[in-house]
Amino acid sequence: MTTQTSKPTLTLRADFATIAAWIKPKSRVLDLGCGDGSLLHYLRTKLGIHGYGVEIDARNILACLENGINVIQSDLESGLSGFESGSFDYVILSQTLQAMKHTENIMQEMLRVGKEGIVSFPNFGYWRNRLQVAAGRMPVSQSLPYQWYDTPNIHLCTLHDFEQLCHKHQVNILEKWVMNGNRKIVFLPNLFGMLAFYRFSHTSQV
């Protein structure tokens, strides 16, 4: 008995376009925690990039193969030892940073393997989150859709927190984009931004 599987539907998340705007056509991209390969598929279609995803979840690895996306099974928590230094133009960590145990290590590994890093994460400083904390509850919202007891997010941070970490590791922030839905937030982003995007490199490279 064989199971006929239909290809999973590729999702088109709002943040893809933001990330794509930062990526040069035909570049080499490593997408950490690539899910079903949707972002890489998007970047390949739009920009003709050559990319690989990194995943640990069996269902996602299968989905990547079904979607024709290069995927390498690896545990991000143990770093990127399977990848050569400087072998990618961009290393992307999309909405995964906050769920990682070894946050500092992955940031450093991203900049070892890639010329530039791109991360996105939910901003814990978003006013709705602050309001819920002020009311005495852990925040549950569109960007943080988990209860405290079942959340994978163990290292939530605000924009300020992230920038401080970059400073500590001499990481140079090249560009920052803060979103609320499809709107770009310029005024008080740490208060009004729901999702943060950063493009960064080593200070020494600038």
Binding site: T2, T3, T5, R28, H50, Y52, A58, I61, L62, C64, L65, E66, G68, I69, N70, V71, I72, Q73, S74, G82, F83, E84, S87
Partner: protein, 375 residues
């Protein structure tokens, strides 16, 4: 049991080659034959051929059954057939018995035209590179410019890699399963113990047991028993046999007491009934010699520079003979060369033999990859 998506009855064929083949050892075979089977139809563009390379003890009988022996099912029948992961409605699948084999291709049991006797120990040692050359010649004869995919597990995976390196323009996709970029000292050590079992069998007669009317059965049986242990995992042996006794109580003698002893002896006997000892020696040597990085000062990255294929590399978590770590070495070399590659570690308890087993996730990965191969 009726297997509705089996390829059904298949017929082995042979193809004769007259152009001398210079082997890596320096020896030359003036002519030779390859036994093979095919499943599915070669399309008019000749772009849908898939070569399946066999492992140490495999053969060209990869799928289906024989009309005169319906119990003799191909060794990868669970993977190949109409509607299966390697779908014979889409692909023209080829199995070739490697040169030096004992299932129909020219090997130690074949008659040497020069002497009128079996080759025996005079059959030259062959390498994966020699096999790659025979695959190319085979493809030429069938008018196949390039293989849509070359697939193999274990030694078969190494053979697939070798072809992707030696004839890069002829391999579009390579699927390398439960393999390694070279054998470790431990791997070679296991192979040598297996060889010593055969070589020191009094019935071996320097490999010319055919003319002595003997067969180094004890040696081959031991070799297989040892090999078999390394193909399984501690966990799978524990769960399948544990310390279970065959007759319920200890007998305090050297007959079969534990079930695992019974199983291993059965496996050894079965194998010794159907395999040639010289071929076993030769195949283990082909494994030991495989080392594409050797000509590049041990630099696998450099060795893979000539490869062009897209790769799928698969390993199994419980495989300690060729562990996932060994596959990751291959993946690293492919990544360093900017080749398309995907890699998955399949959860399994069956050890190295997992690559032959039916496993839903494993087969879905294979199906997904094969489905995306354009022909």
């Amino acid at each position: 049991m009726h297997d509705s998506d089996s390829i059904g009855i298949v017929t082995p064929r042979r193809i004769h080659f007259d152009t001398p083949l210079s082997l890596k050892s320096g020896a030359v075979l003036d002519s030779y034959e390859l036994a093979y089977e095919t499943y599915g139809e070669l399309n008019s563009a000749r772009s849908n051929a898939v070569l399946v390379c066999h492992a140490l003890s495999g053969s060209h009988h990869v799928a289906g059954v024989y009309a005169d022996n319906p119990k003799n099912t191909g060794w990868w029948n669970n993977m190949i057939g109409p509607g299966k992961a390697i779908d014979t409605r889409k692909f023209f699948v080829i199995g070739i018995n490697n040169l030096g084999g004992c299932h129909g291709s020219t090997g130690p049991v074949s008659i040497n035209d020069k002497t009128g006797k079996r080759f025996g120990p005079d059959f030259p040692l062959v390498t994966t590179s020699d096999w790659a050359e025979t695959y190319v010649r085979f493809a030429d004869r069938l008018g196949i410019d390039h293989f849509a995919a070359v697939i193999g597990g274990s030694l078969g995976g190494m053979s697939a890699m070798q072809l992707a390196l030696d004839a890069p323009e002829r391999v579009r996709h390579a699927i390398v399963i439960a393999a390694a970029a070279k054998l470790t000292a431990q791997n070679i050590a296991f192979n040598d113990v297996a060889r010593q079992a055969i070589l020191t069998d009094p019935d071996f007669h320097g490999g010319d047991y055919y003319s002595h009317g003997t067969f180094p059965r004890r040696g081959l049986r031991l070799a297989r028993m040892l090999g078999h242990i390394t193909y399984l995992s501690d966990d799978s042996m524990a769960s399948k046999f544990g310390r279970e006794l065959r007759n319920g109580s200890l007998a305090f003698n050297y007959e079969v007491e534990f079930q695992i002893e019974s199983y291993l002896r059965y496996q050894g006997d079965k194998f010794a009934d159907q395999f040639d000892a010289n071929t076993y020696l030769l195949m283990t040597k082909a494994l030991d010699y495989f080392d594409p990085a050797q000509d590049y000062d041990g630099n696998l990255h450099a060795a893979f520079t000539r490869a062009q294929a897209d790769f799928l590399v698969l390993s199994f978590t419980s495989d300690w003979r060729f562990s996932p770590e060994r596959s990751r070495t291959i993946v690293k070399a492919l990544l360093d060369n900017k080749l398309n590659v995907s890699y998955a570690e399949i959860p399994s308890t069956h050890g190295h033999d997992s690559f032959l087993m039916k496993d839903d996730y494993y087969h879905r990965l294979m199906r997904a990859y094969m489905d995306n191969i354009l022909i």
